[in-house]
């Protein structure tokens, strides 16, 4: 026990030193559920209001979709309690040029190829094609078992007008850590 305490202090200090030069406004690691989403979206809304940033509603929009993606789709690693479903990392960085939203969560490896295909497709489409793709998915009646409408990534890409950046880091043979960032220009 004696040796653990300083290591947490070190962790916090190192963490602080790492993010200090960056424009990180919020970083959270833990369960992401509807209540957490409410808190973060209202914090951001209030924070941006003072900035008079015209894209503030887009930020709200993209945050909701990112957070609901995690709460619906993040996988609990085997052996971890089912209540731990919906765990992830959420980060917001904000400077004069752009606002960036980054999410990270654990996913089963078998979902990787589906996600890569989906995001690459979205990134390959221009504005009008994205609009058509949105309409196609909107009228397709199937809603996934977890209630996702398959529209989230398309909506994020449309609202930001930027490509989605993503990466997968392998955890073990069954799981990957999925990271996605969305940028909103100012």
């Amino acid at each position: 026990m004696e040796t653990k305490k300083p290591s947490f202090q070190e962790l916090v200090y190192n963490f602080h030193e790492t993010i200090r030069p960056l424009d990180v406004k919020l970083i959270y690691e833990g369960e992401i559920n509807h209540e957490i989403m409410k808190v973060f979206t209202s914090l951001t809304e209030n924070g941006l209001r003072s900035e008079e940033f015209p894209g503030q509603k887009k930020v709200f929009n993209v945050m909701v979709e990112c957070l609901q993606n995690i709460s619906r789709h993040a996988d609990p690693v085997d052996g971890i309690k089912q209540e731990n479903i919906g765990h992830g990392i959420f980060l917001i960085s904000n400077n004069e040029k752009e606002l960036t939203i980054v999410t990270g969560n654990i996913l089963k490896k078998d979902k990787e190829s589906f996600l890569i295909e989906k995001i690459d497709k979205i990134n390959s489409l221009g504005k009008d094609e994205l609009r058509d793709y949105y309409k196609t998915v909107l009228k397709d009646n199937s809603i996934s078992e977890k209630g996702g409408a398959g529209l989230g990534f398309i909506d994020i890409a449309r609202k930001t007008g930027n490509k989605l950046t993503y990466s997968f880091y392998p955890i073990d043979e069954n799981y990957s850590f999925f990271i996605m960032s969305a940028k909103i220009d100012k």
């Binding site: 989403m37 509603k57 979709e65 609901q68 609009r131 909107l138 009228k139 809603i143 409408a149």
Partner: protein, 125 residues
């Protein structure tokens, strides 16, 4: 037939479904996690209303923002309304949005593209 009133919260819109007047209003923002659960009573109400073969119906969407899960539910509601229209109900559907909010205008346009029933864009200045 009973009217249905769902009060507004910070995450869900006010919904007023008035059978006598034939008026349906959706007003506020809609970002429930379980949108199909939230809109279930609305579907049930519209189904009952349709079975009464109403002569006319006035629908007002006045949403500031909705998540993609709600976008699907709104699609399904419009689908029901379109069926009602095909069964002979006279219908006016208004899509209100803040005149400066291009995203909400575009979302309205997308529904217009997907349905034959008349949806009128109503910019609010």
């Amino acid at each position: 037939m009973q009217n249905l009133l769902i009060k507004k919260t910070s995450q869900t819109p006010e919904i007023r479904l008035d059978a006598e007047k034939g008026e349906l209003c959706f007003c506020g923002r809609s970002l429930p996690e379980d949108a199909s659960g939230f809109y279930k009573p609305v579907f049930d109400w519209i189904n009952n209303f349709t079975s009464e073969s109403p002569r006319k119906c006035f629908i007002r969407f006045e949403l500031d923002y909705f998540n993609t899960a709600s976008a699907k539910s709104i699609f399904a509601i419009l689908n029901k309304l379109e069926q009602m229209n095909h069964l002979g109900t006279n219908m006016v559907i208004e899509w209100w949005f803040d005149a400066e909010d291009e995203d909400m205008r575009d979302l309205g346009k997308e529904y217009i593209d997907l349905f034959t029933v008349n949806i009128v864009l109503k910019p609010r200045s």
